[in-house]
């Protein structure tokens, strides 16, 4: 069906070298992605995690070349199987879109064309890229709908998006993304718009399809809980830069960046008592037109020192599978002393509250 047979089964698929994506606005240049480098192996899943405004979506869109009009990749290389995508124009990119790489969007309600039958929406890339005729495309669309485990797939072919439930719509969108057998699949917050009960199913489906088709997946989300069970590696983004990158197991076992720590603490855990207070990260992500000097997280970081405010920490590797950018990482002596101080303050506060 596709060229999947001839693909090498492993090796580096994607390499980013110091990618900078800027937006020109009336107020100035927004440095949405400001120097990001990483590599992704074939068949692996990478999670990009961060708050909204951290640049994670823009990073994913930069790789794919699907930036809004005012955004451009200013610098850096996006090496996809040896080709630098950053140098390609729209026409060049279009050869990759849908065939080599495709994307699952956040909101299936607005991302599916409301006026087109599901079957036609899945069949469209098949007919445009693979030159299938109408019947062939329809048969393949049906097969895809079965792959994504939509109930009653024959019926869905002739239905419109508004006739489907949220979960089914997202499955249909996955079917569209998978249609031409992509090598790299982006999933941009694929479960945010969905019902909690459906979220896990959709994530499992993506995971399963990745294994079956030996795709690479880039999963963009604000939720560390989402990436935990469904990725091989995690990159934590903050204010357009990578804060920490590690394999999933290593990150959860040995997180180093205070921002990662804060993100994790903002997720409710099942084993906590139901009224345990969630830790929120105070403040807002910085203005990306004039980012703070030094570490960008410093203004919100409870452990920040003078050095953090003046010197930019670089991404340093502590092992082959773990790197982070912080002057006072979790576990360092300064972190420990600050942690004790905070704990005693909290103790005082709760003691005062009880008295």
């Amino acid at each position: 069906m596709t060229s999947a047979m001839h693909r090498p089964q492993d090796g580096t698929l994607l390499e980013l070298r110091d990618v900078r994506t800027h937006f020109s606005t009336a107020r100035g240049i927004v440095r949405a992605v400001d120097g990001v480098s990483f590599t992704l192996e074939r068949g692996k899943a990478l999670g990009i995690v961060g708050e909204s405004g951290s640049g994670k979506t823009i990073l994913a869109r930069s790789i794919m070349g699907l930036l809004p009009k005012r955004g451009t990749i200013r610098q850096g290389e996006v090496l996809y199987a040896g080709d630098d995508l950053a140098k390609l124009d729209l026409k060049g990119m279009r050869k990759f879109w849908g065939q080599e790489m495709s994307m699952i969007f956040q909101d299936p309600m607005t991302s599916l064309n409301p006026l087109m039958k599901i079957g036609n929406q899945i069949g469209e890339p098949l007919r445009v890229h693979l030159g299938m005729d109408k019947e062939n495309a329809r048969a393949t669309a049906l097969k895809l709908l079965q792959d994504v485990k939509i109930p009653e797939p024959e019926k869905r072919l002739d239905q419109y998006p508004h006739e489907l439930s949220g979960g089914m719509r997202q499955r249909a969108m996955i079917a569209i993304a998978l249609a031409c057998g992509p090598t790299l699949l982006f999933a941009d917050e694929p479960t945010t718009a969905l019902d909690v009960t459906v979220q896990a199913q959709i994530l499992d489906l993506i995971q399963e399809q990745r294994r079956d088709r030996n795709m690479s997946v880039i999963l963009v989300t604000h939720d560390l809980g989402v990436v935990a069970g469904h990725t091989d590696e995690i990159a934590v983004m903050y204010a357009g830069t990578l804060a920490e990158k590690a394999t999933t197991a290593e990150l959860f076992a040995n997180m180093k960046h205070p921002y990662t720590e804060a993100l994790l603490r903002s997720i409710p855990k099942l084993d906590q008592p139901s009224h345990t207070r969630l830790m929120a990260i105070g403040g807002r992500p910085p203005d990306l037109i004039t980012p703070p000097t030094g570490c960008r997280f410093a203004p919100r970081c409870p452990y920040a020192t003078e050095k953090c405010r003046t010197e930019i920490p670089v991404l340093e590797s502590i092992s082959a599978e773990h790197s982070f950018a912080c002057w006072n990482p979790v576990g360092s002596s300064h972190w420990q002393s600050k942690q004790d101080e905070l704990a005693s303050n909290a103790g005082l506060a709760s003691a005062g509250g009880q008295a």
């Binding site: 937006f23 909204s52 945010t192």
Partner: protein, 320 residues
């Protein structure tokens, strides 16, 4: 424990600040100069129109040239000159003076109609949008009828049959029957579209939290309509007033052209155009040109202002 509101991580379901920022970047303000020029033009036009009877350098609309001037005119075929700025028509009357008097009539008719239409249409639309139910249904049939009434038929019947000529006694003041008839027609024509816009806006506004809250607090319907809804309708109505006025001026021009608008004691631009039209080939083109230009510029100016106001308040319905 004290009740602290926690700063939860923002939901990415909403557009991120970045995309919102990019969406908000205003388009190049290309109409700014147009706006200034339009206001300036209308101010000058209104000044002439209001003081036409008083300004010493404006002739009377029916003044015919005498003696030497008349003899000179015969050779000169109505071209603009130092004393006849816009030239003359075939009878030798001053096109500038007549255009200014016409502006007086046209602007009065337009303003009176749009104000009447805004009051009636605004009220009906507000009530239909707020009370809904059978009231809304009856009104929407009335609007449908008014919209299905071909404008021209309405105009021809009302002006051509009811208000043909003579004076109309309205107690306090008298006015020309035709003048009144044209205002009635233009008002009738604009009530339905205006009422529809206002109805849609009211419908949206009455679902807003603060209106629901006011209702929950037991405020009376009239109070809600006047205190909560009307102020929020005003920007839209303000902008519609300008674009609507432009549309009415076009309509009045058409009516006048067909001879169904005010003609006595002096006509409006549309009739001036029609009157001088046969003389174009005989060198009377200036008497057609100037009323045309004035009508076009006036309509354009009102449209520019309406467009500006609509953009300023971000009103989509009111744009052209």
């Amino acid at each position: 424990m004290t009740d602290i509101v926690l700063d939860t991580p923002s939901k990415p379901a909403k557009p991120s600040p970045l995309t919102r920022l990019i969406g908000r970047v205003p388009p190049i303000r290309k109409w700014k100069w147009g706006f200034v020029l339009s206001v300036a033009y209308l101010v000058v036009l209104t000044f002439f129109a209001v003081f036409a009877n008083v300004l010493p350098f404006i002739r009377r609309y029916n003044e015919l040239p005498k003696g030497a001037a008349a003899r000179k005119l015969a050779s000169y075929r109505g071209k603009p000159s130092g004393s006849y700025w816009f030239g003359n028509d075939k009878l030798g009357r001053d096109t500038f003076a007549r255009s200014v008097y016409a502006a007086q009539k046209t602007l009065t008719i337009g303003l009176a109609s749009i104000v009447a239409a805004l009051v009636i249409g605004g009220l009906l639309g507000m009530l239909a949008g707020y009370y809904r139910g059978w009231y809304d249904r009856v009104l929407s049939v009335i609007f449908d009828v008014l919209l299905a009434f071909p404008a021209i038929v309405l105009a021809l019947i009302v002006v051509g049959r009811f208000f043909q000529s003579g004076r109309l006694n309205l107690g306090l003041f008298q006015m020309d029957k035709r003048f009144f008839g044209v205002i009635v027609v233009l008002t009738l024509l604009s009530v339905a579209p205006l009422a529809r816009i206002v109805r849609a806006q009211t419908l949206a506004l009455s679902q807003r939290e603060y209106v629901l809250a006011a209702r929950g607090l037991g405020a009376s319907s009239w109070r809600i309509l006047i205190r909560e809804i009307l102020p929020n309708l005003l920007p839209a109505m303000f902008s519609v007033a300008f674009t609507g006025l432009a549309v009415l001026l076009v309509a009045e021009g058409g009516l006048a052209f067909l001879g169904f608008s005010v003609q006595l004691p002096f006509p409006t631009w549309g009739f001036m155009i029609n009157e001088a039209r046969p003389d174009i080939v005989k060198g009377g083109g200036w008497a057609v040109f100037f009323p045309c230009i004035l009508l076009f510029l006036t309509v354009l100016a009102f449209n520019v202002i309406g467009d500006r106001v609509a953009r300023r308040f971000d009103i989509r319905e009111a744009t052209l």
